[in-house]
């Protein structure tokens, strides 16, 4: 029933993309509502009064906020198909740890890559590549962080790929040149329809970033 699940989202948001992928993986129909973050809807303000942020998953009229919390909610409610978290509690703790690592690091460092210059940007570039290296080592020989198929960490991390053109152009580097194994993982994820259909085109995200830079007065 499409009216049971509503997602309040914003098309370039990596956090929103996480929900899109999870819902697609599980074959859940939902109504997608794109928010104008400079003119937030009454529905958004009502469903997320504390943070007023997207994404918000609304299930049978009740909101679940914060993307990683919504992912776990989706996994627990629609638990028959495409599990995101493993059944083993230790492996689950590891998955949560790495998703938390991605949340703590990638967004902020990534943002610095396209909004700062000089020394600050150089430091961000180094930190970003270090983080990718750490994640690459954690992935190891596995095809996905989740093992044989997409898991919690894969869904948490892959949305940032839609922002790689932005990071690489402004940061003047290539993730693939430094970390080819990481890009191999990216490609494996992008082969999945649930992922490729949930991520916007990199060029579109780049145009959006240019718009924001103009708004922020960054030349």
């Amino acid at each position: 029933m499409a009216d049971e699940v509503v997602v309040l989202d914003f098309w370039p948001s990596p956090f929103g993309m996480r929900l899109r992928i999870a819902l697609a993986e599980k074959g859940i129909e939902y109504e997608y509502k794109d928010e104008d973050l400079w003119n937030k809807s009454p529905l958004l303000l009502q469903m997320n009064p504390v943070h007023k942020k997207i994404p918000v998953l609304i299930h049978k009229g009740k909101p679940v906020c914060e993307s990683l919390i919504a992912l776990q909610y989706i996994d627990e409610v629609w638990n028959e198909k495409a599990p995101l978290l493993p059944s083993d509690s230790y492996l689950t703790a590891q998955a949560r740890f790495w998703a938390d690592f991605v949340d703590k690091k990638i967004y902020e460092i990534g943002r610095k890559l396209w909004t700062t210059k000089g020394e600050e940007q150089d430091a961000a570039k180094k930190e970003f590549l270090d983080c990718i290296g750490v994640l690459e080592r954690e992935l190891g020989d596995k095809p996905f962080f989740g093992g044989d198929d997409l898991g919690f960490v894969d869904v948490t991390l892959i949305p940032y790929y839609s922002w790689f053109l932005v990071y690489e152009k402004f940061g003047n580097f290539s993730v693939g040149a430094e970390h080819p194994e990481f890009i191999a993982w990216v490609k494996r994820c992008m082969e999945k329809e649930s992922v490729s259909k949930s991520l916007p085109e990199q060029e579109k995200v780049y145009d959006f970033a240019m718009l924001i830079r103009k708004k922020l007065g960054i030349e």
Binding site: C65, E66, I69, A70, Y73, E76, T92, Q94, F97
Partner: protein, 223 residues
């Protein structure tokens, strides 16, 4: 369960380590406590938490789990008696939301009130009070966030009752306002006095002295 080893790497003054101690106590899990010297981190800590190098770390049969809220969930999923999180997925999402709110909003504001002076300090204290007031809305008229018994959010937030009052005394700010947040104020008293939890809490005077030392360093650096 026999033949099982549970170790907690912590620091006596760490509120995040206290969260884990509370969870272990509520589940009646026997464990070995290892006190870390944070100025001189042990090879064990660096081996078990190479990414963040922080306490607390729970080591279960040689396998480490880091980050206090992740440890709480691990404990709850591994030892299923005396549940900490509710069963219902929506209730679980709410509990996770408020625990996250504490760490993302309440704690940084309280820390900011502690480390700053003058206008910055007052601004941070006001933000902290607003965030605590928001937290109170999740408690409502219940005895605990978990309902009739201590749950995930109680364990995540209870320590603020002790620490925030120490910040109030040292930095001369108002954080927990008994008038504007009577329910939260009463809950702080209830959770810190709960039999199993009370015995794990570090002594107030020792914590006060320790925090005063920190405050001197932090305010000297910023002035």
């Amino acid at each position: 369960m026999s033949g099982e080893s549970v170790k907690l790497l912590g620091y006596w003054a760490s509120p995040l380590a206290l969260r884990v101690k509370w969870a272990l106590k509520l589940k009646e899990i026997e464990y070995q406590y290892v006190e870390e010297d944070l100025q001189n981190k042990s090879p064990l800590l660096l081996r078990y938490n190479p990414v963040h190098k922080k306490v607390p770390v729970l080591v279960h049969d040689g396998k480490p789990v880091a980050e206090s809220l992740i440890i709480l969930e691990y404990i709850d999923e591994t030892w299923k008696h005396n549940p900490i999180l509710p069963q219902d997925p929506y209730e679980r999402a709410q509990a996770r939301f408020w625990a996250g709110f504490i760490d993302e909003k309440c704690v940084p504001a309280i820390m900011s009130a502690f480390t700053n002076q003058g206008e910055e300090k007052e601004k941070a204290a006001k933000e902290a009070r607003e965030n605590l007031k928001t937290l109170e809305s999740a408690l409502g008229g219940k005895d605990f966030f978990g309902g009739e018994t201590v749950g995930f959010v109680d364990i995540a937030a209870g320590w603020i009752g002790l620490w925030a009052r120490i910040v109030e005394e040292i930095a001369d700010v108002n954080l927990i306002d008994a008038e504007t947040m009577p329910l939260l104020n009463a809950w702080f008293g209830r959770v810190l006095e709960a039999p199993v939890l009370k015995e794990c809490v570090p002594p107030r005077d020792k914590l006060l002295e320790h925090s005063r030392g920190f405050h001197k360093i932090l305010t000297a650096a910023s002035s």
